[in-house]
Amino acid sequence: MGTQVGNWLDERVGWRKVWDAIFLRKIPKVNWLFTLGSATLFVALIQGVTGILLTIYYVPTPDHAYDSVQFITTQVPAGWLIRGLHHYGASAMVILTVLHMLRVIFYGAYKFPREVTWFTGVLLLLIVTGFGFTGYLLPWDQKAFWATTVGTRIASVAPGIGEWLLFVMRGGEELTAVTLARFYGVHVWVLPASLLMLLTIHMYLVIRIGISAVPKRED
């Protein structure tokens, strides 16, 4: 029955070829460090699911943000779990992405023909830090407020465009409702959209080129 449905679909959509290309591709003899990319992808997926769930109750305005987060944590069934996963998942994202990058550096996996994969990877790391930076403000507690005050102030010391950057990030001189709303917009729309786009390219290249092998001494 299952195979029949599968065959019917395959005749029309050709999914088996896609499936095989993704999951049955040939890989060289590698070690566990080569799972860091998949681990990052898995946590990213969890972040996506829990993030979407959080938006069901979270409200990004100064008069509701803190209270809605408290409501999620203390009142909504499993709210503590969803928020906790998203909170710790954020740290896991940064750690895993960096470890993944270190593996690529130390095994020289960024070299020909994988330069473009590397470029998209670097951008993806920036996006992950962007997620961390914008997400940190959203609970709108003291820690969030002052961390973002300091974080945006750091951007302002960039030569030439610093002050302008600060204005764009804060949406004005001070950290206000405008800042919270734009951080939220960036966190749930701009960054996820960019992530999805770059991740698609990243994954396509990984599948097309195949993953690198552990370099040998004579390489």
Partner: protein, 159 residues
């Protein structure tokens, strides 16, 4: 493991992957559903007596409208809501408290004193003085509050 004919290394791995994936999906899926349907399972916290006003205001034989402010916590917001209750008495001792919410689709009914009946403007429903349906689509009479009189004040039980 020659006993387990047909279970290749590949099969074992895919079964294992599916099993772990399934466990993770369920472990995240069940809390996710609970999280989403959470508010639907919440009942109104506690009921308390809401003071409407003095008994002397009630006209005998005519539904008299009382309004009262009610604080209601929805999510993390405390709302000030107003409830409207028609108090009806025929003898000044026994009181009936009718909700002004139409039992059809929740519009507000009002007492038309010329005709001696309640009228709902949404679908032209008509209820009689006791709140029973005369014409129109409402499935049941107007809802009633539990009512009590204390120190010449009328109270209804509401949440």
């Amino acid at each position: 493991m020659s006993e387990e004919k047909g279970l290749s290394r590949r099969d074992l791995l895919s079964i294992g992957t599916l099993a772990i994936g399934g466990i993770i999906s369920v472990a995240l899926g069940i809390p996710a559903v609970a999280y989403i349907i959470g508010p639907a399972r919440r009942r109104v916290q506690e009921e308390n007596w809401i003071r409407l006003g003095p008994v002397s205001k009630v006209e005998i034989g005519t539904p008299t409208l009382f309004k009262a402010g009610v604080e209601r916590q929805v999510g993390w917001i405390i709302n000030e809501e107003e409830i409207s209750v028609y108090i009806l008495t025929d003898d000044g001792r026994n009181f009936v408290a009718l909700s002004n919410i139409c039992t059809h689709l929740g519009c507000r009914v009002r007492w038309i004193s010329d005709q001696g009946q309640f009228f709902c403007p949404c679908h032209n429903a008509i209820f009689n003085k006791q709140g029973e349906v005369v014409t129109g689509p409402p499935p049941r009479p107007l809802d009633q509050y539990v009512v009590k009189v204390e120190d010449e004040q009328i109270y209804v039980l509401g949440g």
